[in-house]
């Protein structure tokens, strides 16, 4: 047995190189994906119908010379491959170009909007994951019970509801102040103009956050519930639970100490993977609640079409997924001792 110990320690060097290779491989995959996303984004939006210059100048008298000047200013007179090279060079410096409609650097617009989106998506995911995982644990542990069936039914229904519709209903019932209910929550936006002071602003933003987050949670938590429930079901018959029961543990302890830590692993990965998708998924909720985030920006950019903005946002949304995938790959081995070695 002592021999095993020395062998174990001699293994560390080999293990370290294996870990490095693993991490390197994941990083490389992520970088390749990112590059592919950038290329796609550039060419996809070049097919957008409509002349960007005309879109930029709607409602104003512009001479042909001025149009040509605009074209030159935005680099639209260059051949496509030149534009592509400029675009790539810009991306490398986090320079996404000038927005056609706002006439400010796209990076500034994104920097402004990313906070609200992260706040909304983060809070929503956190709450949804907590509710979904908790209910999923219970449903899976007591599967077939009345509680399980009720939970599953409600989750499946909410899962089928379009998020924007639910958001609209929330606004009608809880924000518009129609009927007997007063308007409890703001109908949109993220802050009331004129509110000052850290505490007041926090409360105000929190107040604005309630309905969008509620909408998001209602639509998203079902996924977590179903995942957690099925991974609990995978564990319920496991031998180590019989061992735990044989030791004399209460059912609640068998659940908490043994079943949940095992069942949680796949769910955590999925939560990470979803986190990336959620950033793009909030487009609708942001649109419905006029939340000043990336989703609203994307939507407004599509109407113009504001090429640099939309391209950049597409890259941001896709990178969110890529980065979260990468994180999930890197974090999972830390959580699961079986993969760690």
């Amino acid at each position: 047995m002592t021999g095993a110990a020395t062998v174990g320690r001699a293994d560390t060097a080999a293990r370290r190189s294996r870990v490095l290779r693993y991490v390197g491989g994941r990083l490389l995959t992520a970088v390749v994906s990112l590059f592919a996303v950038m290329v796609t984004s550039f060419f996809l939006f070049r097919i957008l119908p409509g002349d960007p210059v005309r879109a930029m100048t709607t409602g104003r008298e512009v001479t042909v010379e001025q149009q040509a000047e605009l074209r030159r200013q935005f680099g639209l007179d260059q051949p496509l491959w030149q534009q592509f090279l400029d675009y790539c060079a810009g991306l490398a410096r986090f320079d996404f170009g000038l927005s056609y409609q706002y006439r400010v650097p796209v990076s500034e617009l994104i920097a402004e909007a990313i906070g609200p989106t992260v706040l909304l998506a983060g809070t929503g995911t956190l709450v949804a994951a907590l509710i979904g995982v908790t209910l999923g644990i219970r449903a899976g542990w007591r599967h077939g019970s009345v509680g399980d069936r009720a939970n599953t039914a409600v989750a499946l229904f909410l899962f089928s509801v379009p998020s924007f519709w639910l958001g609209l209903l929330f606004i009608v019932v809880l924000a518009s102040g129609t009927g007997w209910l007063p308007g409890l929550f703001p109908t949109g936006g993220m802050a009331t103009p004129g509110v000052d002071g850290v505490v007041a602003v926090t409360v105000d933003v929190g107040h604005h956050l309630v309905l969008p987050v509620a909408t998001m949670v209602a639509v998203v938590y079902a996924q977590y519930l179903m995942i957690m429930r099925s991974s609990m079901l995978d564990e319920t018959g496991a031998d180590y639970l019989t061992t735990a029961r044989a030791k004399g543990l209460r059912d609640a302890l068998v659940l908490r100490r043994h079943a949940v830590p095992n069942a949680l692993l796949p769910t955590v990965t999925l939560i990470f993977l979803n986190l990336g998708r959620v950033v793009g998924g909030v487009i609708l909720i942001e649109t419905v609640f006029s939340w000043p985030g990336l989703g609203s920006l994307f939507y407004s950019g599509l109407q113009v079409p504001d090429l640099p903005l939309v391209q950049a946002l597409f890259v941001v949304f896709a990178s969110a997924v890529i980065i979260m995938n990468l994180l999930a790959d890197l974090v999972y081995p830390l959580l699961d001792p079986r993969v760690r070695t």
Partner: protein
């Protein structure tokens, strides 16, 4: 008094297709410090018996009968008392320790868990106790910080044994303790188990499909077939001179070391174990029996003492009509017609000797 006393244990599983009997009236006793082996093919109900002893069967299982552990009936215990008895009164060494240990917890934590729970030693002494236990099973103390997957199969089984001894129980149930291991490790583990059980004066119920494993470690053997004990007696006698054709077949399936005859002509058993949901009439072993007779279709024999004047048959019993014949030809009489036999079978407790009476020792 026996530390463990099982009387007419019956277990059936509720399935959509109806009740499926897994254990159909098993009885045995286990004196303090003695070792009983329970043998049989997979699916004969032996593991169900093991789990039933601590009421660990799933909710779909219905259990009847009596399981007296130190005089207390496990089946009627309240939950709190049952939890106190689990592990402290009787612990289990499970089969295939890979799945029986929690993969995401360190083994030290898993060994310490029942000690903390049952308060076997003061809290501050728990780590020390874990170290002692690991030492007893021949593992270095630093292994407490390992995860199950970092251990070999034999080491995991050692951890399982250390865990089973953690609360100093008076009974250890070893359910296929060596099945997943290779032969060399098997022998090591069996020796270890033997030694520890002997040192601490613990009773042991060892369950295996491998008669040779059991005969080496156990004082007595019980052979199960289709949810019943079909032969029971001193280990050596059951292995070398089985009275039930199934026990005989099981014994000859493993060649005796140093006996060239058994190696040259291994006696396998044709056919598969019966489907518990669809047992044949009469003797359940009938379809596979080499010496089957016409009357076997009508009589469902129960354990009956083996004729005591033949050598080495003290305290032995078997469930075969041929044993019934030789034991008490005048009293019971060989059933001469299917008619009478069936009526007798309908109520075996009154007409024929019961399981318990045959299995006391």
């Amino acid at each position: 008094m026996n530390y463990l006393e099982v009387e007419d244990l019956r277990v059936s599983y509720h399935t959509p297709e109806g009740e499926v009997p897994a254990v159909r009236g098993v009885g045995f006793g286990l004196a303090a410090g003695s070792k009983l082996g329970l043998a049989g093919e997979s699916g004969c109900g032996k593991s169900t018996v093991a789990l039933a002893l601590l009421r660990l069967l799933p909710r779909s299982a219905g259990i009847r009968g009596r399981i007296l552990l130190d005089g207390e009936d496990v089946l009627t215990m309240r939950w709190g008392r049952l939890r106190a008895v689990r592990w402290a009164g009787a612990s289990i060494v499970f089969q295939g320790a890979m799945h029986s240990l929690n993969a995401v917890r360190r083994v030290g934590h898993q060994i310490a868990e029942p000690i903390r729970l049952h308060g076997s030693v003061p809290r501050d002494r728990v780590p020390q106790r874990v170290g002692e236990l690991l030492d007893q099973v021949g593992l270095p103390g630093w292994r407490a910080r390992s995860y199950p997957h970092e251990l070999s199969g034999g080491q995991r089984q050692r951890v399982m044994i250390a865990m089973a001894l953690a609360c100093e129980p008076r009974l250890v149930i070893a359910d296929e303790p060596t099945t997943a291991l290779d032969v060399m490790i098997q022998a090591q583990i069996l020796r270890l188990l033997d030694r520890l059980v002997g040192e601490h004066d613990i009773s042991m119920l060892m369950i295996s499909h491998d008669l040779s494993v059991l005969s080496g470690s156990c004082d007595r053997l019980a052979v199960m077939y289709a949810g019943r004990v079909v032969e029971e007696g001193p280990a050596h006698a059951v292995v070398t001179d089985a009275r039930h054709p199934y026990a005989a077949a099981l014994g000859s399936a493993f060649p005796t070391v140093g006996d060239p005859a058994s190696r040259r002509a291994p006696h396998g058993l044709p056919g598969d174990p019966p489907d518990p949901a669809d047992l044949p009439s009469g003797c359940a072993f009938r379809p596979r029996c080499a010496v089957v007779e016409d009357r076997c279709a009508a009589i469902d024999p129960v354990l009956w003492p083996v004729d005591s004047d033949s050598a080495g048959s003290a305290g032995r019993s078997a469930a075969c009509v041929r044993v019934l014949d030789s034991a008490a030809p005048e009293d019971t009489g060989a059933p001469d017609g299917a008619e009478t036999a069936t009526t007798r079978v309908a109520d075996p407790d009154t007409t024929l000797p019961t399981q318990e009476s045959g299995a006391q020792y």
